[in-house]
């Protein structure tokens, strides 16, 4: 108890001085490091994630606006296309924060906003919020477990193998990842949400078909279908493969790593610091870089693979 109290007091002094170099990390015991880690993380978990809320709603609004703007000839399709690609690629992460109830937990007065963001932000990506939430929790509980991690299929020995795998598993004769997601939902008694996924996907296909036969096939392809193909490679690459590669180790400090992306932290959707998310899923995405910088000395001593970050 005394050890914990002295650690907290040491951290408070550090915060006051705003200089983590004052701490002699090597002199700390495991317990002291854990206390420091939780104390630092809790500071970030209390931040209200306004940025991701704006991001989620604005992204969906912009994507929805592209349709009438293109149909009315106000915006050329060739300009709308790259915007739509960005919109669909950016649609997942606000929902990801909502999946972890970062905006508001159950019982909080803003819980409705958390759930609304989760649903609305996923519209361009045509994915059901609860389906992704429950399968994502299984990923967190079993990261890198060959049997239980619903995202385990994403693992590949290198980048080329990843791209090959991600394309092949989208083929009509494959169903590998969907099978794993269904298994995870059945295992956790959440199978009822599968219907939402089916309805959304069937609705998406029917809308594409309807648009195509109404004379808007190019618009459907460039505003939705091709952006979806890009997002279905980009999102698993940065959110699943890269931060968990090679995916051979399990455990709190071992199943996720930091990495330096060629596209930078923004271009990789903030995934350079995904290790922070797996340690503390309630830290808002936009604050994981700051949390990483502060937690870095502890993560090194805990044996995390930070890859020079």
């Amino acid at each position: 108890m005394g050890e914990v109290a002295s650690t907290i007091s040491s951290l408070d002094r550090t915060n006051a001085n705003n200089n983590s170099t004052d701490i002699n990390w090597d002199a700390m015991t495991d317990t002291q490091l854990e206390v420091m880690e939780r104390k630092i993380a809790s500071k970030y978990m209390k931040i209200f994630p306004l940025g991701i809320i704006v991001w989620g709603f604005a992204n969906t609004f912009i994507w929805l606006s592209l349709w009438p703007l293109v149909f009315m000839g106000i915006l050329p399709l060739w300009i709308a296309f790259p915007i739509a690609v960005l919109n669909v690629c950016l649609a997942y992460l606000p929902s990801h924060d909502a999946q972890h109830s970062i905006i508001a937990r159950k019982g909080h007065k803003l819980r409705w906003l958390n759930e609304l963001l989760g649903h609305v932000s996923l519209i361009p990506f045509v994915a059901p919020f609860r389906y992704l939430r429950y399968t994502h929790f299984e990923h967190h509980n079993n990261a890198n477990d060959p049997e239980l991690d619903p995202d385990f299929d994403v693992h590949a020995k290198n980048r080329v193998e990843f791209f090959k795998k991600v394309i092949l598993r989208k083929q009509p004769g494959s169903g590998a990842q969907e099978d794993r997601y269904v298994e995870a939902l059945i295992r956790t008694n959440k199978a009822h949400v599968m219907m939402e996924a089916i309805i959304m996907r069937v609705g998406y296909m029917l809308i594409l078909y309807l648009l195509a036969w109404s004379g808007y096939a190019l618009e459907a392809a460039l505003l939705w279908w091709i952006p979806m193909q890009v997002a279905n490679i980009y999102i698993p690459y940065y959110l699943s493969w890269k931060p968990h590669h090679p995916g051979t180790e399990m455990g709190r400090y071992k199943d996720t790593n930091a990495f330096k992306s060629l596209l930078g932290n923004i271009g990789s959707s903030g995934m350079q610091y995904h290790v922070i998310h797996h340690l503390y899923p309630r830290i808002p995405l936009m604050h994981t870089p700051a949390a990483f910088r502060e937690l870095r000395p502890i993560l090194i001593r805990k044996g995390c693979d930070l890859r020079g970050m």
Partner: protein
């Protein structure tokens, strides 16, 4: 029954006829490409239909499996 209908919506042949065929036809029109006496939608149906049939039989839209 519902499962079969859903399977149909996602089947390569339905996708090729319902989406690829008009997409190919409208792309040809946008590029000012036409084949004498053959409507672009017919070209789209032939190309799209062949691709869909190939994907249905092979279980893959791409060459590698």
């Amino acid at each position: 029954m519902i499962g079969k209908i859903i399977g149909l919506v996602f089947s390569p042949i339905v996708f090729s006829i319902a989406f690829l065929a008009p997409l190919i036809a409208q792309s040809l029109t946008a590029l000012n490409i036409s084949f004498d006496g053959i409507p672009n939608i017919a070209v789209g149906l032939v190309i799209g239909g062949c691709l869909g049939l190939m994907a249905h039989l092979r279980g893959s839209w791409v060459w590698v499996k």
